[in-house]
Amino acid sequence: MTSILVQDLHKTYKGALEPSLKGLSFSFPKGSIVGLLGPNGAGKTTTISILCGLIKADAGQVQIFDLPQNAVNREAIKGLIGIVPQQIALFPHLTAVENLEYFGNLYGLKGKPLRSRIDEYLQVFGLEKNAHKQVHHFSGGMKRRTNIIAAILHQPQLLVLDEPTAGVDVQSRSMILQFLRDYNRQGVSIVYTSHLLDEAQTICQEVTIIDEGTAVVQGETNELIARHPECRNLEDVFLQYTGHALRD
């Protein structure tokens, strides 16, 4: 069974000269941590937006846990996915608890079950002492950790993280990566996008590199590196497929 199946996906934004996606295809196995990698403008954000049902593809097929992404399944699929956006998608002038209560309520969670789940995650992410501080007083790492909690309150089966460790210190990064491994062990599929390829190499069992709207390579991380003897690590593999030209 796959967590995500993408087949021949096409998307051109209105008014854009170039298509964002040009027949993108890939699949991720259920229960794995996979990296969706690519340079700026490769089509990662567009792909994630289509996976979540935020925008519609012009053509192609998307399945999340074998459910086709369409108008009928859109709401059900939203419930299966947790998204950690690159931005700190929290209300800065609410406390961590108030933020999490609000997003929990939007998921239909309330009362003691919600409160105990929030307490549990705040403890896991080392935020229990700052639970009642307003988020704008938090450090970058604390904000990132709260951002992740907001995405997993409803216990999704698929967690999509966009640059989850951008701008955080080493301790917070280590804690977040360890949490993702532990979380994956509970059976949750994880899609990880980042420009930090050493981090992706450490955590991702499988990667798909996309560029200019198509998948250029997909495979198990270690196997991909081994397939290219001239490459010492994932970054070398990435550069080999996407080139050294600067992207806007």
Binding site: K14, K78, Q87, A89, F91, E101, Y102, L106, Q134, A151
Partner: protein, 428 residues
């Protein structure tokens, strides 16, 4: 329902923590209303309650001067000043004082004015007697040229003010001439064998003027004054300024990704938007009632008239909700169209000022040119103000305000639909 209530709670917490925003939402309108009501108090009183000093130079020293002085004093609009430092005012001195703007009006009663009026009355009576084949005995002056009471106005006086004074003085002149004529007729008739005890009452005004209320109730007689115009008008203006926090709120949510997070959560975003709207509509309604309290309690302490609310509190509440819906929807549209808070702030603020100016908030629509009145009636602020004026001044109830409220609700629905289309296009 949980999503809706959670959103209302979230907005409440955010507003409570934004002290500057709270001040802007509630304290600034109070200051605005107080200042505007005080500033516009004088123009509103101009022709209603204010008393003007009127310089009077009486070169006649007869009945006409006395009548004009008494008439002006009786009208309670004027204070007659005919001397300064114990000396009678001279014509040239009076002209200079008016020209320098120290006094607004000066009237010069010419020498021989009363004599001219008496002579004219005598001539009329003699003519009547002649036609009745009776000899005319009253003395008539041989003077042919007519005399004029001269008026000098401060060059800065408004046209309407001048015409009001002209009319008042004209009335006094007519009154004096009529009184003298009647007196002469009575004198002549009394000479002709009238029995003792007959007082010869001649009443000239067989038909008079009586002002009645137009509204359904006879209990309230509200005068449109500075408070009665400015408090509702600037309250509506302040309510529309909710556009700024709403638009800022929408743009921040889009920028920081929380809007994206909300849209990724299963369930309709409409519930979240409804919660947001309900909260801000409630803020608008609270603003409205706070401003009304200012009109009722604070402004009278500053020497201004007390705001009269009319009799239908329910109708006023419905209108306040309608205005809140219109302004909140406008804020949502501005927040959807513009990409940065600065753009939204500039557009939102300037557009509200324009809509308020053409909508009769600054000055009543009735005194604008007809084409501006037509444009003004397209402003949602004028719909709100018309509805409130209907309730407060015309004393109407719920049944009479649906037209205005309907326009406000239709405006709100239209703007929300446009915002939805724009948001959908942005995503695609």
């Amino acid at each position: 329902m949980l999503r809706l209530l959670a959103t209302i709670r979230k907005e409440w917490l955010l507003l409570l923590r934004d002290r500057t925003g709270l001040t802007l939402l509630f304290a600034m309108p109070v200051i605005l209303i107080t200042v505007m009501a005080m500033i516009e108090d004088a123009p509103f009183r101009d022709y209603q309650e204010l008393r003007f000093d009127i310089l009077t130079v009486d070169n006649d020293h007869g009945r006409l001067g006395k009548y004009i002085r008494e008439g002006l004093e009786y009208s309670e609009q004027f204070r007659v000043i005919d001397s300064m430092k114990g000396q009678p005012i001279m014509e040239q001195q009076a002209r200079n004082l008016v020209n320098e703007g120290e006094y607004k009006i000066c009237i010069i009663i010419p020498s021989g004015a009363t004599g001219a009026i008496v002579s004219n009355a005598n001539k009329i009576v003699n003519d009547i007697l002649k036609r009745m084949s009776m000899p005319g005995v009253l003395p008539v002056s041989s003077r042919k040229d007519s005399l004029n009471v001269t008026i000098y106005f401060d060059p800065a006086s408004k046209k309407a003010f001048k015409s009001a004074i002209h009319q008042a003085l004209d009335n006094f002149l007519t009154q004096v001439e009529t009184d003298l004529l009647l007196e002469r007729i009575k004198q002549q008739l009394k000479r002709k064998d009238v029995p003792e005890g007959d007082s010869m009452v001649i009443q000239l005004k067989a038909v008079g003027l009586k002002e009645q209320l137009t509204g359904p109730s006879q209990e309230i007689d509200v005068i449109s004054n500075s408070v009665q115009h400015n408090v509702p008008a600037w309250s509506i203006f302040a309510m529309f300024f909710i556009v700024i926090p709403i638009a800022g709120n929408m743009i921040r949510e889009r920028e920081d990704g929380s809007l994206l997070r909300m849209k990724l959560i299963p369930g309709s975003y409409l519930a979240v938007l409804t919660g947001k709207m309900l909260f801000f509509v409630a803020v608008c309604v609270v603003q409205f009632y706070l401003m009304m309290q200012v009109g009722i309690y604070l402004l009278p302490l500053l020497g201004l008239p007390k705001l009269v609310l009319g009799q239908s509190l329910l109708a006023a509440f419905i209108v306040a909700v309608g205005i809140g819906l219109a302004s909140t929807s406008y804020g949502i549209l501005v927040g959807t169209v513009f990409k940065t808070p600065n753009q939204a702030l500039n557009f939102g603020a300037i557009s509200i000022v324009i809509l308020s100016a053409i909508g009769g908030i600054w000055i009543p629509l009735e005194i604008m040119p007809s084409h501006m009145q037509f444009i003004g009636h397209l402003s949602p602020l004028s719909w709100g103000l018309d509805a409130i004026n209907d309730i407060y001044l015309r004393n109407v109830g719920v049944g009479h305000i649906w037209g205005h409220v309907g326009k406000l609700v239709l405006f709100a629905v239209t703007l929300l639909c446009i915002a939805a289309v724009i948001e959908k296009r942005r995503l695609s």
